[in-house]
């Protein structure tokens, strides 16, 4: 299998290979859409409840025109922003502390190690019970999901700082604070930003789960409402939009990383 990727492959090195890859890559999704179109026009339960591709496109246009879709996307994104920024503000200093001082690591690592494998969905009922329905439980859930990769990657980044770079800074006259600001932080930055990108992916995953139960707006809520109204077209639009926004967020994160670390692009 790997032999296929050593040639023109996914990098799109060759023009002919690139065009062939595009056709090949489109075949499977087209097949899936075809199967869906076929299933949705059959009789029985499947035909009744499963919207056709045409109905989904029409619903997408309707949601787009009415502005409904936009306001739901905005609600979900703003929640992700608040939860993720909080996770960064807590997670990065925590990771620096745990990476730099053993006692901090020993005090905090056991708790995080225990919490990390618990699926965020498991926290939803308790969070709603404690915080009620609204923005707060959604933000708390996003925070809890996004903080783990940020802390872990920050620790890795801080521990990966080269002694040689610290010594170089010292002999050039840097004090403790300057070593942290001018050596430790830029050294750890690639790892920290990778952690934030992972956290962003998790936050997008969590916000949808949170909106199914904990809050009354956003893409997740739009889909729960659609379920009550037996509107599979709205749900499928939701699924596509969630996927597209998720891809966009990842691309945005990579662009930001390249912007913040120009030395890594070379």
């Amino acid at each position: 299998m790997f032999l296929a990727r050593t040639g023109s492959g996914r990098s799109g090195a060759g023009r002919i290979g690139g065009a062939r890859d595009a056709v090949l890559g489109a075949l499977v999704p087209l097949g899936v859409v075809g199967a869906w179109a076929f299933a949705s026009t059959q009789g029985g339960v499947l035909g009744v409840f499963l919207a056709t591709p045409g109905e989904v496109v029409a619903e997408f246009v309707r949601l787009l025109w009415s502005g409904e879709l936009f306001s739901h996307v905005l609600a979900s994104l703003s929640r992700v922003a608040v939860g993720l920024v909080t996770a960064i503000l807590v997670g990065v200093p925590l990771g620096i502390g745990m990476g730099a001082w053993r006692s901090v690591d020993v005090a905090i690592a056991p708790l995080l190690d225990f919490l990390r494998p618990i699926p965020i969905a498991a926290w939803v009922p308790l969070t709603v019970l404690v915080f009620g329905i609204g923005e707060l439980p959604a933000r708390v859930l996003i925070f809890m999901g996004a903080i783990h990769p940020i802390v872990v990657n920050t620790i890795l980044g801080v521990k990966g700082v080269k002694l040689l770079h610290v010594r170089a800074a010292r002999m050039l006259g840097a004090d403790n604070w300057q070593v942290i600001r001018r050596v430790v932080i830029p050294s750890a930055l690639p790892s920290v930003l990778a952690g934030i990108r992972l956290g962003l992916g998790i936050a997008w995953w969590v916000v949808i789960v949170a909106e199914l139960l904990a809050v009354r707006s956003g893409l997740g809520y739009m889909m729960v409402q659609a379920m009550a109204l037996l509107r599979s077209d709205t749900m499928i639009v939701g699924i596509f939009v969630i996927g597209a926004v998720g891809l966009g967020l990842n691309r945005f994160a990579i662009l930001t990383e390249n912007l913040l670390m120009p030395w890594r692009k070379v």
Partner: protein
């Protein structure tokens, strides 16, 4: 009698505690030598003789078990801008451009100087026009020239160089020797150069301190008097061969005993 030494290493001893071996490992045994203003001093010796440890002690990265190091008569307490280091491995900051690397020292020390001064320094080390390049975009030889420029930017009392050209290919290394000799001719900085390459030590120095290992100690010092300004061509001369013979004798390698 010469003036007071710029750098004085006094009876420096270094022991490392070893796990389970019972006794400590003696890495350096009462090392003493002096380097004078504008002098080029090399420490040459086999791998593991403690020469890098000795340089780290002079730099202030490690504390000796006994003895002391004085720069301009002041005891060394830790790393400081009076002793700039050019490391063996690439120790440039990869996240800073060539110009930002050179400015790092003066910048952290709160000196506000115009970029022109540092552009001029880059030009001096042959990196004109590379101001905005990141280290990863430069060749090995260019990176080490940049490392020397970064060290000189602080105008240190002593420049410490730890096998700075060890990772370069032979031809580039010879070019770097020529370059360093020319640079020294211009600035006359005081430099301590650590290497295991005897030719390099002789070519680049006014005095060579020869070290032996287990425990690391100075076994002799050789004054190098060669025609100035020096050039790499001198390494094939008869007088150079004679100096090399004396170093090899002190090292007791490649020469029949007795």
């Amino acid at each position: 009698m010469r003036s007071a030494p710029k750098l004085e290493v006094r009876d420096v001893c270094m022991r490392f505690r070893t796990q389970g071996a019972g006794s400590d490992l003696e890495v350096l045994k009462s090392i003493s030598f002096s380097v004078y203003e504008g002098e080029r001093y090399s420490l040459v010796g086999p791998s593991g003789c403690g020469k890098t440890t000795l340089l780290n002690i002079i730099a202030g990265f490690e504390r000796p078990t006994a003895g002391e190091v004085l720069v301009d008569g002041v005891p060394v307490q830790g790393p400081a801008p009076s002793r700039a280091v050019v490391f063996q491995d690439d120790a440039l900051f990869p996240w800073l451009t060539a110009l930002e690397n050179v400015r790092f020292g003066p910048c952290v020390r709160g000196r506000r100087e115009s970029a022109d001064k540092w552009k001029e320094l880059l030009k001096t080390v042959g990196l004109e026009g590379f101001d905005d390049y990141y280290p990863a975009q430069l060749s090995g030889g260019m990176r080490q020239r940049l490392a020397v420029a970064r060290a000189l930017a602080n105008e240190p009392a002593v420049l410490l160089m730890d096998e700075p050209f060890g990772a370069l290919d032979a031809l580039t290394r010879t070019q770097m020797h020529e370059w360093l000799l020319e640079l020294w001719g211009r600035f006359r900085f005081t430099v301590v150069f650590v290497t295991h390459d005897i030719d390099e030590a002789i070519l680049l120095s006014d005095r060579v301190g020869v070290m032996a290992g287990r425990p690391g100690r100075l076994v002799g010092e050789i004054e190098i008097k060669l025609q100035e300004p020096r050039s790499a061509g001198v390494t094939v001369s008869a007088e150079f061969g004679e100096l090399k013979r004396r170093v090899l004798e002190l090292l007791r390698v490649g020469w029949p005993r007795g």
